[in-house]
Amino acid sequence: MFLEIITPDKKVFAGEVTSVMVPGAKGQFQVLKNHAPIISTLINGKVKVKTASGTQNFDVKGGVIEVLKNKVIVLAESV
């Protein structure tokens, strides 16, 4: 599935990933392939991105995530 992490200043990450862990407003949750469409707000915390070549962590400060048809978009105010 395809993940994009976007802030107003720049695009932080864009690429194929196997899983994403995000700090949702109602608790941390993981997004895997074929996840149901979801829109959730995020609190301050870590976004853990798992790709074929390893894991990457991003500290986000508030934001929102949208998952739709294996396309994940994280809008963060700052990373």
Partner: protein
């Protein structure tokens, strides 16, 4: 006929002026490119945020909710005037000030009479102009340009939103130069608060059956401040790009004008030089004639 030396001095001075304007044009062009990049960088964020907001607002009646959407009778108005810190950018700053003055003198004259209109200056040119009038002046944020990023603009937006929520202002408008291209900028008056509710797209509703966390209403309430910040950030980025575009155009014209001036002065100089030579020859010939006789 003008003095040879005088003309030579003027040519040198116009030449050095031309060098300065040329350098300023080059600097403005480089800065313009960077400012344009910043606009392009923030565009995906802005459009995506708008899209999500529309998706969420689609099935929930969010237009009436939230403090930032509340439409009150317009008693107290805040005008955010976005100018630059530096001058020499053509009509860039005076256009903004003229538009703000028109708002003050015409659209909101009743509020001005009651002392309920304030101007918040972003950029030294606006703060210089409006700080003279203590009844209108609400402060400035001139330092935002020294490190222009989303966070510094978000702080300003939060301040404005807080004032609006507290009821200190009933309406907030932003006046800024919208960037079209290097030569063309439009002065735009945009309403920042209360927000205009997101448009609702009915058609796609069945296709995207989203799970909402924590709840649709809460998401809308969370996203609206973000979209207000983004709107202000966009205005300031646009204004920044417009400033460099306007300066580039102004300096390019100044360089051309200086070139023309030099051309004219050179012609004048050569004419004077020629006349002096002719005079000298005349004298020599007359002298020789006199000796012969």
């Amino acid at each position: 006929m003008a003095n040879l030396k005088e003309v030579r001095i003027r040519i040198t001075s116009v030449n050095s002026t031309q060098q300065i304007t040329k350098a300023m044009k080059m600097v403005a062009a480089a800065k313009l490119r960077r400012a344009q990049d910043a606009i392009i960088q923030m565009r995906p964020y802005a459009s995506k945020l708008k899209e999500i907001l529309e998706n969420v607002a689609e099935s929930v009646d969010a237009s009436g909710s939230g403090v930032y959407a509340k439409v009150r009778p317009v008693n107290k108005v805040l005008i955010v005037a976005v100018t630059s810190n530096r001058g020499l950018a053509g009509a860039f700053n005076s256009n903004i000030i003229r538009t703000v003055n028109r708002l003050i003198g015409d659209t909101y004259k009743d509020q001005v009479k009651a002392g309920n209109l304030k101007v918040l200056a972003i950029g030294r040119k606006a703060s210089d102009f409006y700080s003279k009038n203590k009844n209108l002046y609400a402060g400035n944020h001139n330092d935002v340009y020294s490190n222009l990023n989303f966070n510094s603009v978000a702080t300003i937006a939060e301040e404005i939103m807080q004032e609006f929520a507290n009821g200190n202002y009933d309406k907030v408008v932003v006046v800024y130069n919208q960037f079209k291209n290097a030569a063309v900028q439009y002065v735009i008056t945009e309403q920042l608060l209360p927000i205009t509710p997101p448009e609702r797209k009915e058609a796609t509703k069945a296709v995207n059956d989203y799970i909402f966390e924590p709840s649709q209403e809460q998401i809308v309430l969370d996203l609206i401040p973000k979209s207000i910040k983004t709107q202000l950030y966009k205005a300031i980025l646009d204004s920044n790009a417009s400033e460099h575009g306007a300066r580039m155009t102004a300096m390019s014209k100044a360089t051309d004008n200086a070139g023309e001036l030099i051309k004219e002065l050179k012609l004048q100089y050569n004419k004077a030089r020629q006349a002096a030579i002719t005079n000298e020859i005349l004298e020599i010939v007359a002298g020789a004639e006199a000796l012969k006789g």
